[in-house]
């Protein structure tokens, strides 16, 4: 099952540890994203897989063979760089053909594969264009074609879409996913855009400060975040103070005027985490006042000032009348939608 395997990989620059204890197994054909804030070590990890950096500790294996002893030029991985790194003095076709020439693929086969790959990324007819004369999206496609044409065992993408505007980025995401599905190429994508990671990947590796916070499917990481960091980083999250009152039996969890039966375990002051879309307007519950109401097409975003501090609420635009700015409302949610931790624990 495991195709690419990273075992306790670490990287140090001088005394600074940039990646630490990074273990991951990627299955054949899987699409895995590294997601994390800027500077958390995503690129460094990718460059260690590519061979441009040597890991300080740990092992990287491809199909069971140690990859770190293989020269980067011999690893046969396809890489798309954030800056694309196209060869500016070569046409699109020459760029794509470069990897095949290095592999001494016969001329006629080479020409055919270049043509087919460019067509696959939607660039048929652009063979003779120089990169400078192409748009950002087209350059990005050339870079993708150049990486794919050598039929890499693993495709490494370092923030390939971050230079594109929002609409083009969305189009390319869909296209990238389709191409990856069709070819079945094992793919690792580096990104700091949570939407991109969620819409593209089979699994997401959430990273923070060089360490893995959580590995899971997009749904798992979103709905059952392993740490406060993950819940903050993936989507919006409300955190507010509550208390668990154990003087009465059964104990109760109390947040302002909202309360629910206390779960087992915790006692005293706690912090509630809940996604904005899981909070509803009800007749009873946390008392709040709507400060701003923002229309975002398919949903409404409410910023409320509640008894327990600021709360964000997201409601689907399903045609129901929505409360207006300044209106007093009551907020409620199902206890199973929230997560609890002791107050003061790492946020």
């Amino acid at each position: 099952m495991s195709f690419l395997e990273l075992e306790r990989v670490a990287k140090q620059f001088g005394t600074q540890t940039v990646v630490d204890d990074f273990s991951l197994t990627v299955g054949k054909g899987e699409f895995v994203s590294f997601l994390g804030p800027s500077g958390c070590g995503k690129t460094t990890t990718l460059q260690m897989i590519a061979g441009f950096l040597d890991p300080s500790r740990g092992a990287i294996r491809l199909e069971g063979h140690d990859l770190t002893v293989v020269q980067p030029a011999k690893r046969g991985l396809g890489i798309v760089f954030q800056s694309y790194a196209l060869f500016p003095h070569m046409t699109a076709a020459e760029n794509v053909a470069f990897g095949l020439e290095m592999r001494r693929v016969p001329r006629s086969e080479c020409r055919e594969r270049v043509r087919a790959t460019l067509a696959m990324v939607g660039l048929a007819g652009y063979e003779e264009r120089y990169p400078r004369r192409m748009s950002g999206g087209q350059q990005q496609r050339v870079a993708l074609a150049r990486a794919l044409v050598i039929r890499p065992s693993v495709l490494l993408l370092d923030e390939p879409l971050s230079n594109l505007d929002a609409k083009l980025r969305e189009e390319m995401q869909i296209e990238l996913r389709q191409i990856q599905r069709n070819l079945g190429t094992t793919t690792i994508l580096v990104t700091h855009d949570q939407n991109e990671a969620m819409s593209l990947s089979d699994r997401i590796v959430v990273m923070s400060q060089g360490r893995i916070e959580q590995i899971g499917t997009p749904q798992e990481t979103y709905e059952r975040p392993a740490s406060a960091f993950v819940s903050q980083f993936l989507g919006k999250t409300n955190d507010f103070a509550a208390t668990i009152d154990r003087t009465a039996t059964p104990g109760r969890l109390i947040a302002g005027s909202w309360s629910a039966p206390a779960p087992a375990g915790l006692a005293g002051p706690v912090t509630i985490s809940i996604r904005p879309e899981r909070i509803g307007f009800c007749d009873a519950g946390l008392a709040a006042k709507i400060v701003t109401r923002i229309f975002q097409g398919n949903h409404w975003l409410f910023q409320c000032e509640s008894e327990c501090g600021a709360v964000i609420v997201i409601r689907q635009n399903d045609g129901q009348p929505q409360p207006a700015e300044g209106e007093a409302v009551r907020l409620a949610w199902r206890p199973e939608d929230m997560s609890l931790r002791r107050a003061g624990d790492a946020a």
Binding site: F52, P88, R103
Partner: protein, 293 residues
């Protein structure tokens, strides 16, 4: 100042008035002497009569027919071309290696390379003369005392010597020019080629070199024109025996006092250089326009 239309004429006059000093300086020290030099080259000259302000083609005829001048011009451009080749072959790798060095070393070696620009060309050339000048040159003395050579290395008054000294003087211009081109190269591009299976030699030849070629060529134009018109280095190393266009013109003006002939040599050098530089520049622009504009 007021922008009212009535004062527009005055504004234009003011502009002319303000630029007049600079303009007069430009005309006075460049345009007029140049025009006079061109005119001078058509004047007559004789040992006893001096310069005669007439319009004749005598000097041009002499320059065109006397094989001495052909040889001298040929030598001038041969020296310039060899110097350019040496600076390109040594300077381009130098800039590339420099660019790959890490922070502190990079600034240190950049200073080492650019430092000589702060020292007068005369001083730098005299350094070569001190090292290789005949029997008294330091290096010659050392090698001879070690018994490695029997007689001093022929350096002074040789074309080889002039070319080596010129290449040394011109090197910073080439390194700077290539360096500037390297700054525009994507730092990830070598990794991209590497990941596609290219070896180090292939990366240099097929990826790096084509991208810095415009820098090498513009550096070559600078070095070539500066070398072809160089005076101090050929004067010190080449001396009287090995004349180039610049030193010949100087001699005609100050020693023979045949100003018209000197003027013809100087004008011919200028015209030839302008043609070569403009021509090669146009060629380069056309060759690389598609890729780099």
């Amino acid at each position: 100042m007021s922008a009212a239309p009535a004062t527009d004429g005055r504004d234009a006059r003011t502009a002319w008035l303000l630029t007049a000093p600079a303009l007069m300086l430009f005309v006075g020290v460049l345009v007029i002497p140049l025009a006079m030099t061109v005119m001078l080259s058509f004047h007559d000259w004789g040992q006893y009569k001096g310069i005669e302000p007439v319009f004749i083609l005598k000097n041009w005829h002499e320059v065109a027919t006397d094989p001495y001048f052909a040889e001298m011009f040929w030598r001038t451009f041969r020296i310039a071309l060899l110097t350019t080749l040496i600076t390109a072959v040594l300077g381009a790798p130098e800039a590339y290696i420099l660019n790959r060095m890490s922070g502190r070393w990079k600034s240190f070696f950049l200073l080492v390379i650019l430092g000589p620009l702060l020292i007068s060309v005369v001083a730098r050339t005299l350094g070569w003369a001190l090292l290789f000048g005949g029997n008294n040159g330091l290096v010659n003395k050392l090698l001879m005392s070690l018994g490695l050579i029997g007689s001093p290395l022929p350096f002074m008054f040789t074309e080889t010597g002039v070319v080596i000294a010129l290449a040394h003087v011109m090197m910073p211009f080439m390194v700077l020019s290539v360096w500037a081109a390297l700054q525009r190269v994507d730092p990830q591009i070598e990794n991209a080629a590497l990941s596609l299976g290219a070896g180090p030699f292939t990366i240099i030849r097929r990826i790096v070199l084509p991208q810095i070629m415009p820098g090498v060529l513009s550096g070559a134009i600078i070095v070539f024109s500066l070398s072809a018109s160089a005076f101090a280095t050929p004067a010190i190393i080449g001396g009287r025996r090995l004349k180039v266009a610049a030193t010949l013109a100087y001699d005609e003006f100050l020693n023979t006092l045949n100003w018209p002939l000197g003027a013809a040599v100087a004008v011919l050098l200028l015209v030839a250089l302008v043609l070569i530089v403009v021509g090669s520049n146009a060629l380069i622009e056309r060759r690389y326009a598609e890729v780099f504009r």
